[in-house]
């Protein structure tokens, strides 16, 4: 036993002297009392006094004990408990089989299973694990060989990426929780990409033994590494699909790459892949019905790992979504620029519908992805309530403020107070340049911070608290303001889309600005449709609302249980392929999931590194043994201050009880 803070004990001993001194004082008070004559007194009090003295002694003892126990607890006592490794004769054998995606190569997994079976020792307590991105326990801790063999035989191939750090973490946890020495047999292809960045993450608990059985080898492998395809399209003929073919440890070769949609081959191209390099293939045009299309880019030639020769992607074919452009007067220059910019994009998914403010009063706004108010003025006031209701129920409005807006006291719908239009003078300052542009704001990502754009006129307005100012002009006036209203949002551009108030429409940043803003307001980029195995798919955006989500997996089975379908917020994607997600209101979404392409690199870890890992448990044990000049791991200090504190509390209760009794007698 030892003390981490022994000075506390000394302080406690000094503190304990206080009640002892008080006790002595108390005893002193019982000194004989002078009395005129004892002629009329009778001695009959001996027993009572004796009992009282006993009480005092017990109280004093309790008080001393309380102080000493508190001091003892503060001194942080600990016991040097021998490590479990020393007192446990029953070693736990753990057989781990790597069943990550790369184990699909050749007959690796079957060989690994055979090795695992042979690693089982008769009569030894063992457990079978499998390792992908996570560790799975395939049997209980048992000596039953049949159960262990069954566990091994149940191991199947997965699309997961192996993680050696995850295995080490699980082994450390097992060693600590069981308190038994581990003897680990790990059968793996020992991919280099499975190593963590830091070798320290692989360290094992002292006393753990590990043996790594390699069943892999270095092989040439080609794979489709990435595919870039639009997520949503209205015109499939414009679609461009780019695929990257990578060669790992492979010589230069000609590879035939095939594009399939819904299982139908649409195009095929041959590409020269350089040695250990990459080549890009571009397909133009897709074909398929409306709705979600299951796209695949595939290398038709076989190689070491066939399963990674295919890359899945999902494309939604849909009619373009309508955008309502409301103007005071139809056919303005601003409307023309806006419409041209939005429809010129190859990825564009929007069709602009122009309407006057009066006609918009009878339009059903819920049919539009978002609404654009070009220089709203007095005429828009009539439909302001409708527009506000549209926004609060989840819609989006983009307001371009011009001179008519500047003449109004507040921006319609948004309600920002205006102080009129500001025009750059013809003197020294001929225009206003943008400043403080937030490049991370969705509208401004590819606009080059609006550099070079000159603003000649803008509407000066005050952004209310809680709104986001994405860009300002050099004089500090807000240029682009976003405000959340209910479920939706309003984006206010303090100038117009024509080339009168500014020259933005004739600058290269205009089209990306309009396109990105349209995607942002139309919620096109809300969700990605391409994932890798082991990533998590968000099932609900509003976690407070109860709604049912249905997910059909790549094999056509329901992935979620009933409880998960009603309550789960995320889904772990464990297989490569297409996941059909049906969200609330029958919104369907197709998610393409691909294997992490690091699994395609079949380079094994150097044997020396594996040996270092194997010896990390032994090394830790021997190093700590050297420090203690014995050949055994150092005893682990186990603090037990809380027991002392608990005992002090119990003693305090006893003291209170005795004191109360004593005081009662006194009263």
């Amino acid at each position: 036993m030892g003390l981490l803070s022994p000075w506390w004990l000394l302080a406690g001993a000094l503190g304990a002297a206080l009640p002892y001194w008080l006790h002595l004082l108390q005893q002193h008070k019982q000194d004989p009392v002078d009395f005129a004559s004892t002629m009329l007194l009778e001695r009959r009090t001996e027993s009572t006094t004796y009992q009282r003295k006993l009480k005092y002694k017990a109280l004093m003892a309790l008080r001393l004990l309380i102080l000493l126990l508190i001091a003892f607890a503060f001194a942080q006592p600990f016991l040097r408990k021998p490590p479990a490794i020393l007192n446990a004769g029953n070693t736990l054998n753990i057989v781990v089989v790597d069943n990550s995606f790369s184990m699909r190569e050749g007959d690796r997994l079957n060989v690994a299973k055979q090795e695992a079976n042979s690693a089982l020792s008769a009569g030894a307590t063992s457990q079978v694990w499998s390792l992908g991105s996570h560790v799975s326990f395939l049997s209980q801790v048992t000596k039953d060989r049949a159960e262990l063999t069954g566990g091994i035989n149940s191991i199947g191939s997965t699309d997961e990426k192996s993680s050696f750090a995850e295995l080490s973490r699980a082994l450390r946890d097992a060693s600590r929780s069981t308190g038994r020495p581990l003897k680990v047999t790990f059968i793996t292809d020992a991919q280099k990409t499975a190593l963590p960045p830091s070798f320290g993450d692989l360290s094992l608990e002292p006393g753990s033994e590990m043996k790594i059985v390699e069943v892999g080898r270095k092989l040439a492998n080609y794979t489709i590494e990435t595919v870039n395809a639009p997520k949503t399209l209205s015109d499939l003929t414009k679609a461009k699909v780019n695929a990257t073919v990578a060669a790992f440890n492979a010589p230069a070769a000609k590879k035939t790459v095939v594009l399939k949609v819904n299982g139908k081959v649409l195009a095929s191209k041959t590409v020269d892949v350089p040695e250990n390099g990459r080549a890009t293939v571009e397909f133009t045009g897709l074909d398929g019905p409306y709705g979600w299309l299951r796209g695949e880019v595939e290398i038709s030639d076989s190689d070491a790992l066939i399963e990674d020769n295919r890359f899945y992607f999902a494309v939604e074919r849909a009619d373009p979504r309508k955008v309502l452009l409301i103007e005071e007067q139809r056919g303005t220059r601003a409307g023309l620029y806006f419409k041209a910019a939005l429809e010129s994009s190859a990825q564009s998914f929007f069709a602009v519908e122009e309407m006057s403010a009066g006609a918009a009063a009878s339009a059903n706004l819920s049919n539009y992805a978002f609404v654009v108010l070009n220089d709203p003025g007095v005429n828009v006031k009539g439909i302001e309530g409708t527009l506000r209701k549209y926004v609060e129920s989840g819609g989006a409005i983009w307001i371009a403020a011009g001179s008519q807006t500047g003449s109004m006291p507040a921006v319609p719908v948004a309600g920002f107070a205006t102080s009129g239009s500001k025009v750059a003078s013809r003197g020294t300052q001929r225009y206003f340049a943008p400043a403080n542009v937030d490049p991370t704001f969705p509208s401004l990502r590819r606009t080059g911070r609006l550099e070079g754009v000159r603003f000649f006129q803008y509407v000066s307005m005050t952004a209310p608290e809680g709104s986001v100012i994405a860009a300002r002009l050099e004089d500090g006036s807000p240029l682009l303001i976003e405000k959340k209203m209910g479920e939706g949002k309003v984006l206010v551009f303090a100038s117009t889309f024509d080339n009168v108030a500014n020259d933005l429409p004739v600058k290269p940043g205009f089209v990306p600005f309009v396109e990105q803003t349209a995607d942002y307001l139309g919620r096109v980029e809300d969700r990605s449709s391409s994932f890798v195995v082991d990533s998590y798919l968000e099932l609900r955006s509003d976690q407070k609302r109860a709604s049912s989500v249905e997910v059909i997996g790549p094999k056509g089975d329901r992935v979620l249980t009933l409880k998960e379908a009603a309550a789960a917020n995320t889904l772990r994607l464990t297989e490569a392929g297409f996941y059909d997600v049906r969200r609330e209101n029958d919104r369907q979404e197709l998610v393409a999931v691909n294997v992490d392409r690091r699994e395609s690199v079949l380079d094994p870890v150097a044997r020396e590194n594996l040996q270092l890992w194997e010896q990390s448990g032994k090394g830790a044990a021997s190093s700590s043994g050297a420090a203690g000049s014995t050949d055994t791991p150092a005893p682990e200090p186990q603090s037990f201050w809380w027991w002392a504190a608990l005992l002090a509390f119990v003693t305090l209760l006893a003291e209170s009880y005795l004191s109360a009794r004593y005081l009662q007698v006194k009263a």
Binding site: P32, V33, F35, S37, R43
Partner: protein
């Protein structure tokens, strides 16, 4: 007139027994309504209006004849009584908080002597514990009072109390009858005390016993079990608060009652004087006893 008597604790702050005695006695006399020392001698003192119930023998008929009003004629008393005060100096008399029993007894004895001298009585003093420590025969000459007061002031506690030996000596000093005042805490068997003092009574003496006790002796209070040490013998007795609250008080009351009844049975006056009691009560007792001597 309501008289306000001085508290013994206040008296203890006054230095000099003569001043204490004078303060007590003057205050006492000023407050007297009808003093028992008037009306027994021929030395005229004053006239007083007749009131129903007054003895008609004392009416001055000459004045009545002249004024048709009834006046009583009042005379100053005679002082031919011998007063001897016996003061116990045993160690138990030193018990008590300020004033302790001895200090209180000094005030009492001084006041009595002072009053007696005022009444022109011959006054003597005997200090005793287990034997006579000092004896000053009764006298009424000038300067005798100061001598007595000086002796009282210098008196210190001795050892044990033994009434037998000093009283036997005292009986030899008694030549003629008078008033004998015994001031003591009487820690002895009442029967023995009375048997010892009773011979004084046989010689036609008026005997007054002043039983001086501290309040703590009458109603002792302790916070817990205590060991009581006898001041005279040094004996230790362990007692409990319960005992002191109940049985001891009963025994003390019994002791006082025994003493009182036996004293009265022997023709003596008994008077309990707790040390927190004003001294005028003692003076009244003296005057009552002196009246008995007339």
């Amino acid at each position: 007139m309501q008289q306000t008597y001085l508290d013994p604790q206040i008296l203890s702050a006054i230095s000099g027994l003569d001043l204490v005695a004078k303060t007590v006695v003057q205050g006492f006399i000023n407050g007297l309504h009808r003093s028992p020392d008037f009306g027994f001698s021929q030395e005229f003192a004053e006239y007083r209006m007749y009131s129903p119930g007054d003895d008609l023998r004392h009416v001055d008929w000459n004045v009545f004849a002249r004024s048709e009003r009834m006046y009583l004629k009042r005379y100053k008393g005679e002082t031919n009584t011998k007063v001897t005060v016996l003061l116990d100096l045993s160690k138990s008399m030193s018990y008590g908080k300020k004033p302790n029993k001895l200090e209180y007894s000094r005030y009492l004895v001084s006041s009595l002597i002072y009053l007696a001298v005022q009444q022109r009585d011959a006054t003597g003093l005997i200090l005793f514990d287990d034997e006579v420590r000092q004896f000053i025969p009764p006298a009424s000459r000038v300067g005798h009072l100061h001598k007595l007061l000086h002796v009282i002031e210098k008196a210190e506690v001795g050892q044990h109390t033994d009434f037998g030996k000093p009283f036997q000596q005292f009986l030899q000093f008694i030549r003629q009858r008078g008033l004998v005042i015994v001031v003591s805490d009487f820690y002895a068997d009442p029967e023995t005390v009375i048997q010892t003092i009773a011979p004084l009574r046989w010689k036609k003496n008026e005997v007054v016993l002043f039983h001086v006790l501290d309040r703590q002796e009458l109603e002792p209070t302790v916070t817990g079990p205590s060991t009581m040490i006898d001041l005279e013998s040094g004996d230790a007795v362990e007692v409990t608060p319960e005992y002191l609250r109940t049985e001891y008080r009963v025994k003390m009351n019994q002791h006082i009652e025994d003493l009182k009844s036996k004293a009265q049975g022997a023709g003596m006056d008994y008077f309990l004087m707790p040390t927190d009691k004003p001294l005028d009560a003692g003076l009244r007792e003296y005057l009552a006893a002196r009246k008995g001597r007339m």
